[in-house]
């Protein structure tokens, strides 16, 4: 550490600039990951964080909730499958509505308020009664606040907001939850004369000693025309999720590679520039391990500084983010990104270590000043 710290201190500007560059790249990594998580949360939060263990789709819907049409009788059939403790209907309608005189899109979910698929937990307010809904709290920026009234178009049905749930948004639009029987009423008002009111999903609660994926497969096998999926599979299987995830993974992967290469090449350049010093130190008895340790220590310090800088930038970005698309700092993400950058930067530093190990101490005796 002795020479590592002295070198850092005497080349403050050089290392600060690099820490800044690494910090910007780490910020980009964190921001892209946060953006991706928020976007996906807005897209499939209602599925991913659903209180049901298993979600049952129409088998031809290809895991697209809005294309899934299930006969209400299926709920009873699902209940007969071993491992299923409870089953309840879920209906979803995407409508146009006004709130606070503003026209907006609304995903309206009808659920069993006390069964699987219930909006749980209510983070503020209470469960909805007749003519009432709870909304995902991210919609408050769009005017969906407790006490406001949502007016559905074209029926003119009015629903009062009485509570909030968290991370339960669907299809990136404001999402509201009400009792399934009230949702049926809304459906009939919006689509009068409909011969049947199909369910979108069946929400399933499984026995505590069962695995969701296994029960899901069992439902698929035992109930005709449906596909049972655990929440993770249902969320990741939603059409579009794969494309979004892959796009972000590609961008994040490229950025990650750039960070690691920048750190690796920088230290390789520094090593070549300081080779004379390394040769001298080896000649006077410094081991390769000692010199490599100094180099690795510098990389660790640099990446940690970059990570702090990148996290501060992310905090700034979240504070300045649009309330309708709120970004937040995920400590676990920061730690994961930092550790990943650290590990791979250290690995890229092995190029420099190899260069140091090859330095011939005998060259010290043949030098110029």
């Amino acid at each position: 550490m002795f020479i590592a710290l002295r070198d850092l201190w005497r080349s403050k500007l050089r290392f600060s600039l690099l820490a800044g560059a690494v910090g910007l790249l780490i910020f980009l990594l964190l921001f892209l990951n946060t953006l991706s998580a928020t976007l996906l949360g807005f897209f499939i939060g209602a599925i991913e964080n659903n209180s049901a263990d298993v979600l049952v789709y129409e088998d031809t819907a290809r895991r697209n909730l809005q294309a899934s049409r299930i006969d209400p009788s299926v709920v009873g059939e699902v209940l007969t499958v071993p491992g299923v403790v409870a089953a309840a209907p879920i209906g979803e309608l995407t409508l146009t509505a006004t709130v606070d005189t503003e026209l907006t899109d609304l995903s309206l979910w009808g659920v069993d308020l006390t069964g699987p698929g219930r909006p749980d937990p209510i983070v503020q307010g209470r469960l909805p009664g007749p003519g009432e809904v709870v909304v995902d709290e991210s919609a408050t920026a769009e005017g969906f606040e407790i006490g406001e009234t949502i007016t559905l178009i074209p029926s003119g049905t009015e629903l009062e907001i009485v509570g909030y749930v968290q991370d339960r948004r669907y299809a990136v639009v404001a999402t509201a939850y009400l009792d399934f029987t009230r949702w049926v009423d809304v459906f009939e008002q919006e689509f009068p004369g409909s011969p049947i009111i199909p369910l979108s999903l069946v929400a399933v609660e499984i026995a505590s000693d069962e695995e969701a994926a296994v029960v899901g497969d069992r439902i698929t096998a035992m109930v005709a025309g449906v596909e049972g999926l655990d929440r993770v599979s249902a969320a990741s299987g939603t059409p579009g999720v794969d494309s979004i995830s892959q796009s972000f993974t590609l961008i994040v992967g490229i950025t990650f590679g750039i960070v690691v290469l920048v750190v690796g090449f920088f230290f390789l350049i520094l090593t070549v520039q300081k080779l004379r010093s390394f040769v001298t130190l080896r000649a006077v008895g410094a081991s390769t391990g000692y010199l490599a340790g100094s180099l690795i220590a510098q990389i660790i310090i640099l990446v940690l500084l970059g990570s702090v800088f990148g996290t501060l930038l992310l905090m700034g970005a979240t504070l300045g983010s649009n309330p309708a698309f709120p970004l937040s700092v995920d400590v676990r993400l920061v730690l994961t990104v930092t550790v990943a950058v650290l590990v791979f930067s250290v690995l890229s530093g092995l190029l420099s270590v190899r260069r140091i190990a090859r330095a011939d101490p005998a060259e010290a005796a043949q030098g110029t000043r």
Partner: protein, 226 residues
């Protein structure tokens, strides 16, 4: 007691038609508290011999023993450790670490050698004082004159209290007056500590500060100043 034994050392660079014999069956003994001048023209093999003695180069044939340790029988890793603790080098180029101050160029040996840090720190302060660098201890090498840099290099060679000091052309980049002062200082530091030392030089005027002179010509050692 014998501080150094060089036994029938030959060093050949390259092989086949391009082989160059830099040292030819060199034999040398050095006692404790003895300061020896190795005198020879450029290309005579002085630096090669010094490098072989210090374990920086392996001889093609022969052996080097420092104190009771057969240096040539040690592994590269063991030789590195041996150099850190038992051999002090003053290179022809000052070879100071540019991002360390004069003082740090000495105290860095605390993290390289096995000597306790407090011991190195105390010896550093003493050496900087003796070498006339007490008020320059906080300067980087680029802020020091040639003579001061050379004195820092001498300090670094002595700070880990090695048994053998190897000095390569200490006056090469200094004017006569400064060169003489540096060699006087070097001789005084080596003798006052009871160490063995070898100084490579091509400057005859410097041999008066040593106990004995050995000449080297085309890789062969010849006794006396010639």
């Amino acid at each position: 007691m014998t501080a150094l034994t060089v036994n029938d050392v030959t060093k050949v660079y390259g092989s086949g038609h391009t082989a160059v014999r830099a040292l030819c069956h060199a034999d040398l003994e050095l006692s404790d508290n003895e300061f020896l001048a190795l005198l020879g023209p450029s290309g005579s093999g002085k630096t090669t011999l010094l490098s072989v003695i210090g374990g920086l180069l392996s001889p093609t044939e022969g052996s080097v023993t420092i104190g009771d340790t057969a240096l040539t029988e040690l592994s590269k890793k063991e030789q590195t450790r041996f150099r850190a603790n038992r051999v002090g080098f003053v290179f022809q180029g000052f070879n100071l670490v540019p991002f360390l101050t004069a003082r740090e160029n000495l105290t860095v040996m605390a993290s390289i050698s096995d000597a306790p840090r407090s011991e190195i720190e105390d010896r550093t302060d003493q050496l900087l004082e003796e070498l006339g660098l007490a008020d320059r201890h906080d300067n980087l090498p680029e802020e020091l004159s040639g003579g001061e840099r050379q004195r820092v290099a001498i300090g670094r060679a002595l700070v880990s209290d090695p048994d053998l000091i190897l000095v390569d052309e200490p006056t090469a980049s200094l004017d006569t007056e400064l060169g003489t002062q540096v060699v006087q200082l070097l001789a005084s530091e080596i003798k006052s500590r009871g160490k063995a030392g070898i100084m490579v030089t091509h400057d005859l005027r410097m041999v008066e500060y040593t106990d004995r002179t050995v000449r080297i010509l085309d890789g062969e050692l010849l006794d006396g100043p010639g």
